[in-house]
């Protein structure tokens, strides 16, 4: 049984590269292969052309200082205060204490926690802990930052602020960021490229925009459909019964690109066919800084009408695709 198989990926310098998959898909193992915390039994990991498999223990440790990592549970030293935590990677590299402190203070400013210098991790919130972890990761001036479910333990607001911080770090320090997540929203918010992993295999990869608009694999479609706002509660009673009926219908997912958002295509279609359609979900999402409209329509039962409507939508330049299963 292989944890990972046939994964061929190239991550460009300066990318914010998302690796997404359901839990157990093997994405955490994949990211640990990138710094050889997990040594792959077969295959190569090349960092700037250097094959990690050919390095000895000492060279590998040196290489790791170029590849920083942050974690879901932050993994800060609980018995050291904030500044000592940030100094820790520098201490490992034998940087003088005074220099390390100066660097750490600078980084605390970057992550906006100057006043927490002497605090211990227990006294910090989850978001603050992750900021400290990010500062610690940046201390050794890495070229690559690996984020293993870095926002999964955080609430939506904190997640957004951490993602913003990661994005600014990517721009400010030209650090390549690899993000492991099971949340499509994280990918949408900041990644430019994405790879989808399922059962240890790479099922799809490419630009986030392309995959969001035309997902090819079933795994990608599922992840996109799961990407619902956090506050949408579960329906109850009569509403639930109604939703159940609706969910039996034929459903289409439509993604509006910038230009099509201006034209009232759906309204026009209803006027033309004289039959109503159900709007099961409508949403505007931020895909890499561009607003994209997303809508899920329930079509009338009439098969001929369904075909005509699909054709109408395609002719008017909309990306459509059929949705199977429940809309969450």
């Amino acid at each position: 049984m292989d944890a990972l198989k046939d994964i061929n990926l190239t991550i460009g310098a300066g990318d914010i590269y998302g690796i997404i998959g359901m839990s157990g898909a093997g994405k955490s193992t994949l990211v640990r292969c990138l710094n050889f915390l997990e040594r792959p039994t077969d295959g190569q990991v090349l960092i700037e052309g250097k094959d990690l498999g050919t390095l000895n223990e000492k060279e590998l440790r040196k290489q790791r200082s170029d590849i920083a990592m942050i974690f879901q549970h932050f993994n800060l030293l609980m018995q050291k205060n904030v500044i000592d935590n940030i100094c820790f990677p520098l201490q490992i590299q034998g940087v003088k204490k005074k220099e390390a402190r100066a660097k750490a203070r600078e980084l605390l400013k970057t992550v906006g926690l100057e006043e927490k210098e002497k605090a211990y991790p227990t006294q910090l919130s989850g978001g603050q802990k992750q900021r400290v972890a990010i500062a610690r990761a940046l201390a050794s001036n890495p070229k690559i930052l690996l984020c293993d479910e870095a926002t999964s333990a955080l609430d939506p607001q904190t997640t957004a602020s951490i993602l913003e911080l990661l994005k600014s770090i990517n721009e400010q320090f030209q650090i390549t960021i690899v993000i492991i997540t099971h949340q499509m929203s994280v990918i949408r918010e900041i990644c430019n490229r994405v790879a989808i992993i399922e059962h240890g295999e790479l099922v799809e990869n490419g630009l986030v925009e392309d995959i969001f608009s035309h997902p090819k694999s079933k795994a990608a479609r599922e992840l996109i459909l799961r990407d619902v706002p956090e506050n949408s509660g579960k329906a109850e009673g009569a509403v639930a019964a109604q939703m159940e009926r609706i969910q039996g219908d034929k459903k289409l997912r439509i993604v509006f690109t910038e230009n099509s958002a201006f034209e009232p295509v759906i309204a026009n279609m209803i006027l033309q066919f004289g039959k109503p359609v159900n709007i099961l979900r409508a949403d505007t999402k931020n895909v890499g800084g561009v607003a994209k409209g997303e809508m899920i329509l329930g079509l009338p039962d009439d098969r001929h009408l369904q075909i005509d409507m699909e054709q109408y939508l395609t002719e008017h330049g909309l990306e459509i695709e059929e949705v199977t299963g429940d809309v969450e």
Binding site: R61, H73, N75, Q79, N81, F88, I92, T122, L146
Partner: protein
Amino acid sequence: MWSSEVTNMIITGIWETLYMTLVSTLVGYVIGLPMGIILTVSDKDGIKPNAVLYKILDVIANIVRSVPFIILLVLLIPFTRLVVGKSYGSTATIVPLVIAAAPYIARMVESSLKEVDAGVIEAARSMGASNFTIITKVMLVEARTSLLVGATITLGTILGYSAMSGAVGGGGLGAIAIRYGYTRWQTDIMIVTVILLIILFQIFQTVGMKLADKFDHRK
């Protein structure tokens, strides 16, 4: 009968007990701490698994720990004589005390170090830390509180063992208690020594826990 001689004897007994307990614990740590570290590191989910090394230390620790201390005392008499030159008195008692304490300490250390969050160790590895750095700068530091609690418990146990050694020629309060309370039926002297042992234990326990607490930054 409560002469100044008895008082002096008891004061000497206190010093002997402190001497045996503290020196044995200290020397016990010199052997037990590295042993506990190696047990943790070489275990199958340790940072450098080594099944053979682990098994050897594991068996040694189990054998020594399974011999009751009073029997270990007797068993070790020839060895003690070899090391110290005699088999009675406080200094001689330190030998079996150390032998008994070391594997006990090793187990205490092992259990403390295993409490250290694997995620923090992984983070250190991801920064390029060597195993030595992980042991000295991460494991021992993060487990500090637990290690201090372990040391406190160890000190209490060794105090008890040191008193037990009085039965076969050790010194200290335990020897006085046995000599006067058991051999001579002088219950009052025995009671005084027992009270003193209780007080010593309380002091060790209180100071140890206070220290452990002071160095814990998790709350």
